[in-house]
Amino acid sequence: MSSPLLEFKDVSIVYGSKGRQVKALDSVNLRLDEGERVAFVGESGAGKTTLARCLAGLIRPQSGRILFRGKDINTLSGKALREFRKSVQIVFQDPYDAMNPHQNVREYLSIPLRFLNGMSSKAELDEACSRLLEMVGLPVELLGKLPHQLSGGQKQRVCIARALASDPKFIVADEPSSMLDASASAGVLNLFRELAVTKNMGYAVITHNIAVAAYLCDTIHVMYAGKIVESASTGNLISRPRHPYSHLLLKYAPRTLSRLDLSSSNLDLEGDIEFDPWKVRGCRFRPLCTRAVKECSLEFPTPTRDEDGQVLCYNPIVY
């Protein structure tokens, strides 16, 4: 494939002060091409949300570079920055937080239309807003409503509409359905799948729910403690997870209820999972790992790449 849309080169983001430093992203290397549908799966604190906000250009990494079509995002300004924002958009996790309580739907949708698309006339804006609502399956009457008059699912759809305003090539979706009820969840996720096809768009879904990742994406990156510990196509990851953490996630993933083993099963994790991964030397997953070997306490493993994807483990599961 030609030059990638987005790239992370050794990106690190560290929070905290001396005593306890949390590496939300630890020398992450990543490549996203146009049209790709990838998921980043992991628990909270694994760095997923930080990754999402980096992709959207909201956070500056302390080290490493984030490239958009080969150019460092942080050096962009003016027209080039606008091009970036038009092409890469983000949908935030909390729809209740993502809308300005003082602006109605029309005003909210008009922001990208005005500043990214350069629209100015009222007629132009109105027409564009109506079209956007239609795209996400919402009635035009909602244009005059304030956020508190909308349901959670409706708010999330409005946020998706806002992201679509500039006809982006790529959307980053941070936990798109975790704040929504079952009624609204499936609908919003289906909307994503549909839009990707009709608008020829790629997306990166950030989620802690591997079932959602599998439902929406072709490639899955599993994150743990600031690192991408395994990358594989969805099919391969689901059937042959190689990293012990991926294996655990899949073991406890939501499955169709009739196939769920409903008898009580005790968690067979090594040790207590209440530990601080940032204080562990070597591989940060070691305290939980049933397959740890000598090398694991020395240094974090480097990636092993093959046609299946990549995995960061000294003793991956083989099939």
């Binding site: 079952a182 009624s183 499936a186 996720l189 289906n190 802690h208 439902y215 209820l257 968690l267």
Partner: protein, 320 residues
């Protein structure tokens, strides 16, 4: 059934009319069982739970009967309530782990909870607190820590310790695993199962997550807009749901094996019940609705195995 709830109604006056948060709910909890209360946000699950402890404050109005061990909870005086709350029935509130007092040591909060509900001396309360911590498998030094020094899972265990400290016969757990990661969730579920096994307490487990309920409950009741639509053994309700809403919920649940197919959401969204609403609450969204569903309350149909459905057109039930 040591806890029997009959025709429970909780209403709140509002500008728009009388808001019926709980609108005629009847169920029972047996000793040592885990009864799940499933439903989306706003369906009345939490309000139902609060009424069991008489925690619904005015202007909320509670009607109906709640009978625990033969005692009518609605009739208890202050003394009776003090003996009942926390000692017989306790609760893990929704989001409790985020509501721990950030400036007080965890130990203090645990001991204070015990002291609030008993007339024990501080020393005895501390002993009970230590015992409770042991039951939730937290080390004793947690007593000396502040909430921000604990992880999400640890905080949740502290809150559970508060709820079991006085060995209640029924623990109400309101979304106890919702904000937690998958692995931590599993740990908490294992813990709760152990508590049921070792102490014989029953749990009323409230959650919107069917996968979680599937792992821990014996029976499940499905609530929608203030009413119970279906109730029965977990296997019956989840494998062969009788009510169209239950089936819709199960179908719209995203699971690993559904990745290649299209998951069908339940169209529309739930509403608040204001004033008097006739007929089945679910009919605006139901594909099988007929005129009688709109006109009047669906009947309660009972099946073998303690199963009941409130529906004119139940699906997927074999023989009665």
């Amino acid at each position: 059934m040591f806890m029997e709830v009959e025709r429970l109604r909780v209403s709140f006056p509002s500008v728009a009319g009388l808001l019926r948060a709980v609108d005629g709910v009847s169920f029972g909890v047996a000793e040592g069982e885990v009864l799940g209360l499933a439903g989306e946000s706003g369906c009345g699950k939490t309000t139902t739970a609060l009424s069991l402890l008489r925690l619904v404050r005015p202007p909320g109005v509670v009607e109906g009967s709640i009978v625990f061990d033969g005692k009518d909870i609605m009739e208890l005086n202050d003394e009776g309530l003090r003996e009942y709350r926390w000692k017989e029935v306790s609760m893990v509130f929704q989001g409790a782990m985020s509501s721990l007092n950030p400036v007080k040591k965890v130990g203090y909060q645990l001991v204070d909870t015990i002291l609030d509900h008993t007339r024990l001396k501080r020393q005895e309360a501390i002993r009970l607190a230590e015992a409770a911590l042991k039951k939730v498998r937290l080390p004793e030094d947690v007593l000396e820590r502040f909430p921000h020094q604990l992880s999400g899972g640890q905080k949740q265990r502290v809150v559970i310790a508060m709820a079991i400290a006085l060995n209640p016969r029924l623990i109400i757990a309101d979304e106890p695993t919702t904000a937690l990661d998958v692995l931590t969730q599993e740990k908490i579920l294992t813990l709760l199962r152990d508590i049921v096994r070792s102490t014989g307490s029953a749990i009323l487990f409230i959650s919107h997550d069917l996968s979680v309920l599937a792992k821990i409950c014996d029976r499940i009741a499905v609530m929608y807009m203030g009413r119970i639509l279906e109730m029965g053994r977990k296997e019956d309700v989840l494998f062969s749901p009788a009510h169209p809403y239950t089936k819709g919920l199960i179908d719209s649940n995203i699971t690993i094996d559904k990745r290649g197919s299209l998951v069908q959401p339940v169209g529309g969204s739930p509403d608040l019940v204001v004033g008097d609403v006739r007929g089945c609450r679910f009919n605006p969204r139901c594909a099988h609705a007929t005129p009688e569903c709109v006109a009047s309350e669906p009947p309660r149909l009972e099946y073998r195995g303690g199963r009941s459905v409130y529906c004119y057109h139940p699906r997927y039930v074999e023989n009665e």
